[in-house]
């Protein structure tokens, strides 16, 4: 980074706070819109990039392309009706939304969730994390032009989706964690099939390891790119793998244990310097950790038992006035629901805090500057942003 800036002492001039001064009329800059329709953009957002040659001088993110107004819609839905709605907020891993909503309502209404349901939820969340990471890995390698790794990981992700389908009857939107518990336990023979799938994941990860991580070009592209120093973590609200790669051991599963995570044996994975390679590698380890956790859960999980708490009639379920914040560790970082109820049958307000909110806007705008335009897609992918959770 430092040597690159050496060439750019003179031009463009800088503001006192270090940002580049852009004069669009000087004809020395090109403005490029990356997205919303752009293969290198994850999800739907656009980057307004101002380039000088290939280098990004200034970056502005534009979101809102997938704004469906969930928070408004939930205000006119009964509590139970919010349940099918929330999973649509973050599509790659909808279950975290369901869990956060369910846990919020359970806390505010004072409902106790049965043990089997807690195990089941842990399993679903971990499976969800695995699928999301697998898909992301494909996107990350694809962003640097290596399609084949994504083919493998997406294939095993699809096998995981089959397992989801078996449990819940849903492929993408599982909708298996309603307030009160879960909608069912695992079907017969599930453990064996799950083990098979996990082995497929591990095999695919071995291939990915060889092709992507032991790859001279990939290393050349990613080492040193998009470095996040540890002191930026709190200043920019960085959470999840991005923060952990910077050496800050932030993991909601450990910090604010929920569900059955206290009973599982795992270490928070951290990295040394949060560049794109470290972040990618950290997520590779997270995938393997997830596989391990799923195995642990499968071993400890009860095969039968009560899985749903007694709910009041959901058609006119009222929750007393209160407010709370429930968080969970999703693949991208801290996912949380801040909920305010007013004693009526409808939530007063549910605010969804997605990790991408900080990663894709404030952090991305900072990191993109001085990057090559070729790296923007890879950089953005490495932050693992998902726009719909920004705008909801």
């Amino acid at each position: 980074m430092a040597d690159k800036n050496k060439y750019r002492e003179k031009f463009p001039e800088k503001d006192p706070d270090g940002s580049n001064i852009i004069d669009p009329e000087s004809h020395k800059f090109i403005k490029v819109w990356q997205g919303p329709q752009h293969p290198g953009i994850t999800g739907n957002m656009s980057l307004e990039l101002i380039l000088q040659g290939d280098e990004v001088m200034h970056c502005k993110t534009h979101v809102g392309y997938l704004h469906r107004g969930f928070e408004k819609l939930m205000e006119r839905r009964r509590f139970i009706q919010c349940f099918p709605l929330v999973c649509r907020i973050a599509v790659p891993e909808p279950d975290f939304n369901e869990y956060c909503l369910a846990a919020t309502l359970e806390e505010l209404a004072g409902i106790k969730v049965p043990e089997a349901a807690k195990w089941m939820r842990t399993l679903i969340l971990e499976m969800s994390r695995l699928t999301s990471f697998l898909m992301w890995l494909g996107g990350q390698s694809g962003a640097f032009g290596l399609g084949v790794a994504g083919q493998w990981t997406n294939y095993v992700r699809d096998l995981m989706l089959d397992r989801f389908e078996e449990i819940s009857g849903g492929r993408i939107y599982r909708m298996h964690i309603p307030p009160g518990g879960v909608r069912g336990l695992t079907p017969d023979g599930f453990r064996a099939r799950m083990e098979e799938t996990l082995q497929a994941v591990e095999a695919a990860m071995k291939d990915v390891d060889r092709t992507l991580f032991d790859n001279a070009v990939f290393k050349r592209r990613t080492v040193g790119l998009g470095y996040i120093p540890p002191e930026m973590v709190d200043a920019y609200g960085v959470t999840g793998p991005n923060a952990r790669a910077a050496g800050v051991p932030k993991d909601v599963r450990r910090d604010h244990p929920y569900l059955k995570y206290p009973e599982l044996d795992f270490d928070v994975i951290t990295g040394n310097d949060s560049d794109v390679y470290t972040r990618t590698d950290l997520r590779r380890k997270e995938i393997l950790l997830s596989v391990d956790l799923i195995r642990q859960i499968m071993a400890k999980m009860p095969g039968s038992g009560e899985y749903m708490a007694k709910l009041p009639n959901v058609l006119h379920w009222k929750i007393p006035r209160g407010e709370t914040y429930i968080r969970a560790e999703c693949t991208r970082g801290e996912y949380g629901f801040y909920t305010v109820t007013d004693g009526s049958g409808y939530p007063r307000r549910i605010n969804v805090r997605g990790p991408s909110y900080t990663h894709a806007v404030a952090l991305m705008e900072k990191l993109a500057v001085d990057c090559n335009i070729a790296d923007v897609a890879g950089l953005m992918s490495s932050l693992h942003t998902y726009p719909p959770e920004i705008e909801r």
């Binding site: 408004k72 006119r76 900080t358 952090l363």
Partner: protein, 176 residues
């Protein structure tokens, strides 16, 4: 831990409505003019260095907005939520973008979705999520999204539903 914190805060600031939602979660209401200094104090001296979120709640009936700053202390694993009430007629609040970079984003969203002003916050007046919005800010309670949707988009015609109660009356005992 939380108890000591509340005591310390009560000495220094005017806080009220303190609710311990969980062992590691605390909500309190701060006076509007003290809120930013309270947030700064929590950040600088009490270790609440992570801004989890900043959002608003519309209490239409009471004629006020509630701003919630949710801070997290990763050392002791605890959250503190600070509520601030703003007048609904002229909602405006001091900006905290100097404390956290991402706060500017939150404030942009609040400006757009609730119409709460944050003078001095970067790009606060730029549209964030919406595009060419002309109605009242959509997250306000008095904005009716269903009506807006029916007016603006084209619900597919041809739907008709019957209420079982009325339908049975019509079928079984129409005269009464």
């Amino acid at each position: 831990m939380m108890k000591a914190l509340i005591e310390r805060l009560e000495q220094k600031f005017r806080i009220s409505e303190v609710v311990r939602q969980r062992n590691d979660e605390l909500f309190m209401t701060a006076a509007k003019e003290e809120a930013v200094s309270l947030v700064t104090y929590l950040k600088e001296y009490e270790g609440f260095t992570h801004l989890v979120l900043l959002t608003a709640v519309d209490w239409l009936e009471a004629g006020r907005f509630q701003l919630t700053y949710l801070l997290n202390n990763n050392a002791v694993k605890a959250d503190a939520g600070i509520r601030v009430y703003l007048d609904r007629e002229r909602p405006e609040m001091e900006s905290i973008h100097h404390l956290w970079k991402q706060a500017a984003t939150y404030q942009r969203e609040l400006k757009e979705m609730f119409g709460i002003g944050f003078p001095g916050s970067p790009r606060v007046d730029e549209p964030f999520i919406l595009e060419g919005w002309r109605d009242i800010p959509p997250y306000r309670r008095d904005f009716d999204t269903k009506k807006y949707s029916e007016k603006t988009y084209f619900p597919r015609p041809g739907r008709k539903t019957y209420d079982p109660e009325e339908y049975m009356k019509k079928q079984l005992y129409p005269e009464e």
